[in-house]
Symmetry: C2
Subunit: 415 residues, 2 copies
């Protein structure tokens, strides 16, 4: 079965926000065997919404719509859906009571008339209770096609997906199994990887699809297949994955279906009862942010320091100022000293240190822009490496973060 | 004139990556007066690409396509475009020479046959030189419609947009001016804001559109208009914006067309010659990451510390352990002590401190999950506040980061 996602909102089309909802919804649908055929982002405009609904109806069995359900004038999704279904809005008592409850519990004021209007839903809709907001989700059927409308606020949408939409989709539709497995590789370009895999790729069974996903310094290789027999499906993909891993054993660092590199680091550290800390200069807290995104990080992450100003590398982190004077602040010896000092200061088993020149977005003639030194202090010593990551600030920071996590993972796997 | 963006790649439709390219392209097009009608994400599938191109041709004057130009087998955009234009692929000498140059300069190996194939382009295409990669951009025209194809790698696409696509679009098309202005407000719900604005909103000229963009703790209000006379357009929107600001003066904190709150903080600190530092517990480096995203942050950002483990708040930051024992680590007194200690340690004028329980994604029955204390040390003292940010980890962290930056900005504006 196929799904289409329609996100409604001018803010997406003027680039004011990035549409993250679609990626979340796609991932969740894929997990239960629903293939997403297309994602369409459209304007808060009646004609445009109607046209998109019509087209989607021809493409998909399940159409998931987000956005445009707010209490304000520019939110026209509900009335347009009503028109599409040739329906009228009726007041839903349960939603009305829920709105009053939310206002009395969290907002400490009476709902306004515009809030109460959110209890008006198309008469043909099954209401999906939105525990985290005032706009209800709606489930509507037309012939055999299901239309689901949800608010665009990400956390409201996520809970509605988990609590209401996914269970109903599972119950309603016969779905094939979809199985993906992604291998993460570091340090070799896309075409070189492809070249090495050529014979194997040409011999892949037709129902197994290989995709190359290159990004800063890494290439992910995704195998996917779908079918009715989950067991056979998995076996076939896993078999090919084993061969793939063998072919790429010098650059493969693990799977990436669900697990990010920082989650993997966390899992291993927890298993080993070890800990880590950070001294981030040019990555400016970006590694800490990635590590602490994961629930349970406090079990292995002691903390970090961002000694952005050079003097602070001495004053707080305790790096010898002579070492900085002699070697330059962006240097292998300083990165190593930073890592060792962080390890000591935070009493951790591992520490990452980064020092570099992330630079301005456009190179300013300074040929050191993009130079980054990364060091990893381990239970037994310290390793380090110097890199040139180009001239675009955003890219330098992102590459340094990736590389630092990759280096740490390698060390953890060794020790 | 209207544009449509088509992003090609299965990785988007299975939710493996978030499509950030579209937001970038939309924003850049909007700046030069090109309205984006629709964004469509589709599969690496010939029939699907052809269908999307056909539909887009009916909707838009400019169709921007990203993705599917890599050197590997799953990248079929180029051959499909060729089919759509009833064209054949020919070797482009300039691109070929560029590929050899990139390989000799950066990759230190000979290009593979698959790399050299990237020099094959449709004969009708104008090649857009991709300085940062081997896949060239392409510009094709059909009747009056322009089709642009670019690689999906974000930094390659961005340079192509700036260097090649935007200048050509400006030259080719007569465009109206589009003018947006967005007011950022904090601390009042969307419907309450809308209620206060009702009379004014009803009296807004028809050609000025108001949009409400609510997100964690803030509501952005965007006024937009388009027309041929840039000066009149701006005057009309600015006039209404002045009224809007007056109506919301208790909650408006500034415009947000181009400037994020962290950029604003940076601008003011630079102007005042002042500096800031951070002691982030529950926000785990997220504030540092936002601050250091901005080029020039080193002029005002001294650094930060992430004392994730409680003991480190004492050991490194120097918060009195009795204070923690008596008050609990998540408390107003501890947050204030953290901010004051960070200010002292980093010798900065301002410091933000956060301490809280971000919790697991799903509440675990601990009713303190979501509690966050934020303190701001200022040149003259310290202010602080305690919040309940709900139970979803990601949301708690995001809200705490926003709130902390908002509190800092308020203090900076006061002092």
């Amino acid at each position: 079965m196929l799904a289409e996602i329609i996100t409604i909102g001018d803010e997406i089309l003027i680039g004011q926000i990035v549409d993250t909802n679609s990626a979340y919804i796609s991932k969740e649908l894929n997990k239960i065997g629903v293939q997403v055929y297309q994602i369409t982002s459209i304007q808060d405009d009646k004609e445009h919404i109607l046209k998109a609904l019509e087209l989607a109806e021809n493409n998909a069995d399940l159409i998931i719509i987000t956005g445009g359900l707010g209490p304000t004038k520019d939110d026209i999704t509900k009335s347009t859906i009503c028109e599409f279904f040739n329906d009228t809005l009726v007041e839903n008592k349960k939603v009305l009571a829920h709105i009053y409850r939310i206002f009395s519990q969290y907002i400490d004021s009476d709902p306004l008339p515009s809030n109460l209007l959110q209890a008006m839903v198309p008469s043909k809709a099954t209401v999906l209770q939105n525990k985290h907001g005032t706009a209800p989700g709606m489930w509507l059927e037309k012939n055999k096609t299901v239309f689901v409308s949800m608010p665009g606020v990400p956390y409201e949408m996520k809970y509605l997906m988990q609590d209401e939409v996914l269970p109903r989709v599972i119950k309603k539709f016969n779905r094939p199994h979809i199985y993906h497995k992604t291998l993460l590789t570091y340090g070799m370009g896309e075409s070189e990887v492809a070249n090495r895999l050529e014979d194997w790729e040409n011999a892949l069974p037709k129902d197994i699809k290989l995709a190359y996903l290159p990004s800063l310094g890494k290439v992910r290789l995704r195998l996917s297949s779908k079918g009715v027999n989950e067991k056979l499906l998995k076996e076939a993909v896993d078999d090919e994955m084993n061969t793939l891993e063998e072919l790429l054993k010098d650059i493969a660092i693990g799977y990436e279906d669900e697990t990010s590199i920082e989650q993997r680091i966390g899992e291993i550290l927890v298993k080993k009862g070890q800990s880590m800390s950070l001294a981030e200069s040019c990555t400016g807290g970006g590694i800490a942010q990635k590590i602490t995104e994961n629930a349970g990080a406090s079990a292995y992450f002691k903390g970090g320091i961002v000694p952005y100003e050079t003097a602070l590398k001495t004053a707080i982190l305790g790096v010898d100022d002579q070492l900085i004077a002699v070697n330059n602040v962006v240097s292998i010896p300083v990165s190593e000293a930073m890592a060792l000092q962080a390890k000591k200061l935070f009493k951790s088993d591992y520490a990452i240190a980064t020092t570099g020149i992330a630079g301005p977005t456009i190179g300013d003639g300074d040929d050191e822009v993009g130079t980054v030194c990364i060091a990893i202090a381990t239970p037994t010593g310290v390793v380090s490496q110097k890199f040139s990551f180009g001239k675009a600030r955003e890219r330098v920071i992102a590459k340094a973060i990736n590389k630092a996590l990759e280096m740490l993972l390698k060390e953890i796997l060794k020790n």
